[in-house]
Structures are given as C-alpha cells and as structure tokens.
C-alpha cells in the first residue's frame, strides 16, 4: 500500500541527508574524541 511505512523507505521530506545517521554520529563523535586526545583540539578552544 502506498501509505505503508517500510523500513527501507527513504526520508519522506526532501533535503534530508541519506547517510545512515547512526554510523555518521558514531564517526563524528569518535573523530572528535580522537582529535581532542591527540591534542589537535587543545584545551580552551571549545567554550
């Protein structure tokens, strides 16, 4: 049926990113963590 919600349905509104949000959030979170731990984002830069 046209009105059914299927798990594989893409976002219904145009303009949304199609990248898997879970993996994107995981990648962004871990990259930021790594940048802080190696000193690329030093103390005092983030208010």
């Amino acid at each position: 049926m046209a009105g059914d919600i299927r798990p594989e349905d893409p976002p219904t509104q145009a303009g949304k990113f199609s990248v898997n949000e879970d993996w994107l959030a995981t990648a962004v979170g871990l990259v930021l963590l790594a940048l802080v731990l190696v000193g690329a984002i030093p103390v005092g830069v983030i208010p």
Partner: protein, 377 residues
C-alpha cells in the same frame, strides 16, 4: 534510536515536502548554531546579571536544556510566522545531534560503570518494555483502537518513542498518518517530562543512580532523556543514558516479535518473508557501539596517561563538545515541534498515551528503586 528515525518535520503528514535547497539548509544550520550559541551565553550571563537579586538563586539552578528548548520553541514560533520553518527544517537534525552527543558522553563514563550497570539496565529494560507494552496494548484494546495503532502506541511508550514507533510501523505495516500521530504524542508528552521527572526526583529524595534509571526508563525519546538527565545532574545523566541505550538496543528484538505476530496472527499471512536476525541488526542503534567505544578509549587514555591532570583536561574538552551537541539537539527539539497532526486524531489515543505514561512512571520508579537502589556511579 534507530537510524531510520526521521525528524518531526519528516514524519508530519499531509503537507507537501519542500524541494531540497542548500541555501535554505545552510540558513537553517546558522539558525540552529546561533540559538545554541545564545543558549551557552545565557547559561553564564543570566546568573551573573541576576546575582544578589531574588531571581539569582533560581537562575543559578537553570540548566542549559531549559534555555535551549525555550529558545527552540521561540525560534519555531518566529520561523513559522515568517513561513520559512519548513524550508529550514532539513537542518534541524535532532537525531544526529543527540546521537553524536551520546557517543561523546561515552568518553566521560568509565567502562567499568557501564559494565556494572549493564545487568540492572538490561533487567529494567526487559521488565519495563514487557510491562508497559502489554499494559498499553491492553488499554488501547479496551478503547477499541486499531491493532496497528495499538502496536505503534505500545512500542513508542515501552521502548524509545519515535524510533520505536517507526520500527513497529515497518513491522506491522502501519499507515503514515498513524505514525505521524504517535510521533506527535511522543513529543507532546516528552517535553513536560524533561522538567517533571528531575523535579519529582528531588522531591522524592531519589539517589543519582535511581533518578537516572527512572528518567532513562521512562522518557520516550533519547534526546528528552538526555535533557532531563542533564537537568538532574552529571551522574543521573550517565545512568539515564546507559539505561536508555540498553532499551534502544532491544528495539530490534521487539520489531521482529511484532513482525512475526502480525504476519502469523493478525494478518494470517504465510507468504511474507520471515523476519530474523538481519532485522535485529538492522534495527540495532549502531551509535550505541560508538558510545561504548568512546568509553573504552577514554578509560584507557586516562589510566595510561603520564600526565593525569592533562588527560582529565582533555576529557573536559570532550565534555564541552558533548554539551554543544546536546544544546544543538535540544534547540532542534523546539524548532521541529509541531502539533498539527494531533488535532485531527480523536481523544482515545491520547487517553491511552496518558494512562500508559502514568503506569510507566510508577513501574519505572519501582524498578529503578529495586535495581539501582544500591548502585554507586
């Protein structure tokens, strides 16, 4: 929450979607960032200017989620009046912001705490999901609601709000309007709970762990759990997050069970593909893995650091980043909110949602007290 979770604007039914437009998306991002920056400014500025006045003590106790959500709602009203809110909506990424914030939150929790909390969290999640799901299913049946709407309401209330409703919607082939309606109810009930539960926890004198477990087990959306946890304090926020992500992780199991039930009992169809472990993995909220990975990395980093103070300062920077992502998420909650689909839906589902929410609160408080009464963060 699952990766398929759309924002409120996405699931709103009955309105034509706006065409994608990068200038509008960039403008939306500027609005979200601007309101987040204003939130951070108000958190320090309001207590400073009200110090020594009657409002000073109150201002001191107002946490950032309060400013963020209020500013989000104000922005919502203004952008709606200007008729540009829907064009900017693709930038209001509540789900992405909250998931990134949760991953970063993992860095402030020792992995040993997650391991110790895992067993009571799983026990609470299984008991809460079973209890609230069947109570909601029963109450909705009493009011003669459609089986698919019953499944959506029961999943949303017992697991994790909008994402669970979407997972259940896919499993039982619900209508888009039913999903939009349940999602609206989730948000409408979650927003007051953000303020109510920390306040009640204080009145009841609950410990930080019980407060966190109660918040994590009760409030339906992960973003609202984080907001309530942040208002209650750092330790309640940590436990609330662990309890909530445990509940989220069980969403795939419930989706599979619902698929099986609707395939073989409700619709009596035998031709459909049988759901299995693939569905469980598909519905598993993968950012939970990022949360655990961040905790392991930070725990090793702190224990192996030659300069413990420097290492702690670095984790402090991670915490600041986490706060920014949470502020972005809370601002987006306010910006995305719209109650239009609720007006068309009738009173029965609202009664079911309200009744099940009260049951959820009581059962959650009992289980949190039993399972986390002696827990030390």
């Amino acid at each position: 929450m699952s990766s398929e979770a759309p924002s409120r604007a996405e699931i709103d039914s009955g309105e034509a979607p706006a065409p994608p437009s990068w200038p509008w998306i960039v403008l939306g991002a500027v609005v979200v960032l601007g309101l987040a920056a204003l939130t951070q400014f108000l958190v320090t500025w309001v207590p400073e200017v009200t110090a020594g006045t009657g409002f000073g003590q109150v201002a001191d106790s107002i946490e950032f989620p309060v400013y963020a959500i209020i500013l989000g709602f104000l922005g919502n009203v203004i952008l709606s009046a200007l008729r540009i809110r829907r064009r900017l909506a693709p930038a209001f990424r509540t789900e992405f912001f909250i998931k990134t914030g949760v991953v970063l939150l993992g860095a402030s929790i020792n992995i040993a705490v997650i391991v110790r909390a895992a067993l009571p969290s799983i026990a609470q999640a299984v008991l809460m999901i079973s209890g609230v799901f069947f109570f909601t299913w029963w109450l909705a049946g009493l009011l003669h609601l459609d089986d698919k709407l019953r499944a959506l309401l029961a999943s949303a209330l017992s697991i994790c709000g909008v994402s669970a409703a979407i997972a259940a919607g896919g499993a039982v082939k619900a209508k888009k309007e039913q999903l939009a309606y349940v999602a609206s109810l989730v948000i409408i009930f979650a927003v007051p709970a953000i303020f109510l539960l920390p306040w009640l926890s204080g009145i009841l004198g609950l410990s930080p762990a019980v407060t966190g477990a109660w918040i994590g087990g009760n409030i339906d959306t992960t973003a609202a759990v984080s907001a309530a946890g942040a208002i209650a304090g750092e330790e309640p926020l940590q436990i609330a997050t662990i309890v909530k992500v445990t509940q989220n992780a069980l969403m795939g199991v419930v989706a599979v069970l619902l698929s099986l039930y609707f395939t073989f009992r409700v619709e009596r169809s035998t031709g459909g593909e049988r759901p299995g472990w693939g569905t469980v993995w598909e519905r598993f909220p993968k950012f939970v893995l990022g949360f655990i990975a961040a905790s392991i990395i930070a725990t090793i980093f702190l224990s192996a650091a030659a300069d413990p103070d420097g290492a702690k300062a670095a984790i402090g920077v991670v915490n600041n980043l986490r706060t920014w992502f949470l502020v972005l998420a809370f601002v987006s909650i306010g910006l995305e909110f719209q109650a239009s689909s609720v007006r068309e839906a009738g009173w029965q589902p609202v009664v079911v949602f309200a009744g099940a929410t009260v049951f959820n609160l009581v059962l959650g408080l009992i289980l949190a007290s039993l399972l986390f009464g002696n827990f030390q963060v």
